[in-house]
């Protein structure tokens, strides 16, 4: 078990007072705090890879944290692509990493 990244007792900011809920990421059942951004809940579970670049397949994660850079796009069941840094976590969410896509025009098929 890796050390949690949550800061449970911040010397100046105190403690987070949010309900623990469950969600899934790539099918794996995880826990996070209700209302915190998806990217935060994943980071707390040591998950940094939010997306594979659609063309190159290289791993991508959160960059700006304020919804500006669009690097953190994940697939949220029922919603399509959402920004993980801005989308609040809800009970039962089914989330998948943004995936590499075959390119029908250049003919690259591996995905």
């Amino acid at each position: 078990m890796r050390k949690s990244l949550r800061i449970n007792h911040h010397p100046l900011l105190g403690e987070m007072d949010k309900k623990v809920i469950s969600f899934t990421y790539n099918g794996e059942k995880l826990q996070g705090l209700e209302g915190e951004p998806i990217a935060v809940a994943l980071l707390a579970n040591h998950i940094r890879i939010l997306r594979r670049h659609e063309e190159s397949g290289s791993a991508r994660g959160l960059y700006c944290g304020i919804g500006h850079c669009m690097e953190c796009r994940v697939e949220l069941l029922g919603k399509g692509q959402v920004r993980a840094c801005l989308t609040p976590l809800k009970e039962g969410m089914e989330i998948r990493e943004g995936s590499r896509l075959p390119n029908a025009i250049t003919g690259r098929v591996d995905s």
């Binding site: 050390k3 990244l5 100046l12 403690e15 935060v40 890879i49 290289s58 960059y63 801005l86």
Partner: protein, 407 residues
């Protein structure tokens, strides 16, 4: 699509400027005020900031934000979060604002969208675990999740030192704060001399004594070169931070996420000393490229702009009363130039008085308040803990002059 919402004043951005403007104007009269923000909760950059004041008490942004939110709630201001604006259209009697939650019609529009960070495309920067320093701040201070156990910060500026200090308080190990490599295109502050010049602006909040007594004197006497020459290769501890002004972060390594960084010693002018490269294990890297005003909505509205490097970038032309050249459109906070949260809050209050005055109620009574608010912004700027740029006043004058010329 939901139906069109109506309001008298719409404020885009629930940060220090936007919330202060809303609290000020609604405290004064019966006037519908709505504040919207893309982030899931109000407060903007206030939520992640804290620093030690001159009297050694702590200024905690989260508490300041909570206070503003309460004031607004009591005054009946509607704050809506998770709303993105994607269009602005000038109407004969105000503005049509297109949002992800439907259209809003408003008589007055205040843009308080703040700032964004300048990215630095260092080799390996797309790896998960590399983030802007602002993102590291949001993770640690807003959501209270560590961006990692142990990180490296690249970029030496006011923001990186302030946030590095916050990260250390939160129990995160900072291996080093280093310069970006000097071959990074078009970046300032990639050499030790420039970095020291920048640090001398921290005035009495400076993290090291030589910077404190340096300050303006160092600037005047061009001491930066001398300090850069003397700066020890292994760095010095300031605010308990490992500041490494003779080190550059060359690249970020890892397969699917950050595993380590390669750093190297640099000469006084920033060139890498061959053979000094070494690998240091970290699990995150924070990039601190500085801030620029987030002014896309002003561009969408059709505002003319002026590039002002002292203020961080392209600024929508406005006057001292924070009016833009377009009807019923105002700006406040970092969209008018990069400065600290206290200045942004004073600007928010000024924008509120400016809008009240223009709306024409009790105009003769409002004018003294408006003039007081202008004076207050200047006073807050003058006494700020962190001076973002020594030439802010003269830079701002250039924008006001252009406004007069434009009108």
């Amino acid at each position: 699509m939901s139906e069109v919402q109506q309001t008298d004043l719409l404020i885009v951005g629930a940060g220090p400027a936007g919330l202060s403007a809303a609290a000020t104007i609604s405290a004064d009269r019966d006037f519908r005020v709505m504040v919207i923000d893309e982030f899931p909760e109000p407060g903007g950059r206030l939520l992640g900031q804290f620093h030690e004041e001159r009297n050694h008490s702590w200024w905690i942004g989260k508490i300041v934000a909570a206070d503003l939110i309460i004031q607004n709630t009591l005054a009946g201001v509607m704050i809506q979060c998770g709303v993105s604006v994607y269009g602005l259209e000038l109407l004969p009697d105000g503005w049509r604002v297109l949002t992800s939650k439907g259209d809003i019609r408003t008589k007055y529009l205040l843009l308080a969208t703040g700032a964004a960070e300048v990215p630095m495309p260092i080799s390996g920067w797309t790896l998960p675990g590399v983030m802007s320093i602002g993102a590291a701040q949001v993770m640690a201070n807003v959501h209270q999740v560590k961006p990692g156990e142990r990180g490296y910060i690249v970029g030496v500026n006011v923001l990186s030192l302030a946030i590095a200090k916050e990260l250390v308080v939160a129990g995160i190990e900072i291996e080093g704060i280093a310069l970006p490599p000097d071959d990074l295109f078009a970046m300032e502050e990639t050499n030790p001399v420039a970095a020291i010049e920048l640090l001398t602006r921290l005035s009495d909040a400076a993290p090291a004594p030589w910077m404190r007594w340096g300050g303006k004197l160092a600037q005047k006497m061009k001491l930066s070169r001398l300090i850069a020459s003397c700066f020890p290769k292994k760095g010095v501890k300031v605010w308990d931070l490992p500041l490494q002004l003779r080190t550059a972060l060359v690249s970020i390594q890892g397969v699917d996420q950050v595993e380590s960084v390669i750093v190297a010693d640099v000469t006084r002018s920033g060139e890498i000393i061959e053979g000094s490269q070494r690998e240091i294990e970290v699990d995150f890297v924070a990039i601190a490229g500085g801030l620029y005003p987030l002014a896309e909505l002003a561009a969408l509205a059709g505002c003319p702009f002026l590039y002002v490097s002292e203020l961080g970038g392209n600024i929508p032309v406005h006057n001292e009363r924070l009016k833009t050249t377009l009807p019923n459109l105002y700006v406040a906070g970092n969209i008018t130039g990069v400065e600290g949260a206290q200045v942004a809050m004073a600007q928010g209050r000024l924008a509120a008085h400016s809008i009240s005055y223009d709306a024409g109620w009790f105009a003769c009574e409002e004018e003294p308040k408006l003039l007081d608010a202008i004076a207050e912004v200047k006073e807050v700027r003058r006494s700020a803990m962190i001076q973002f740029h020594p030439e802010i006043d003269s830079a701002r004058k250039r924008i006001y002059e252009l406004f007069e010329h434009w009108m």
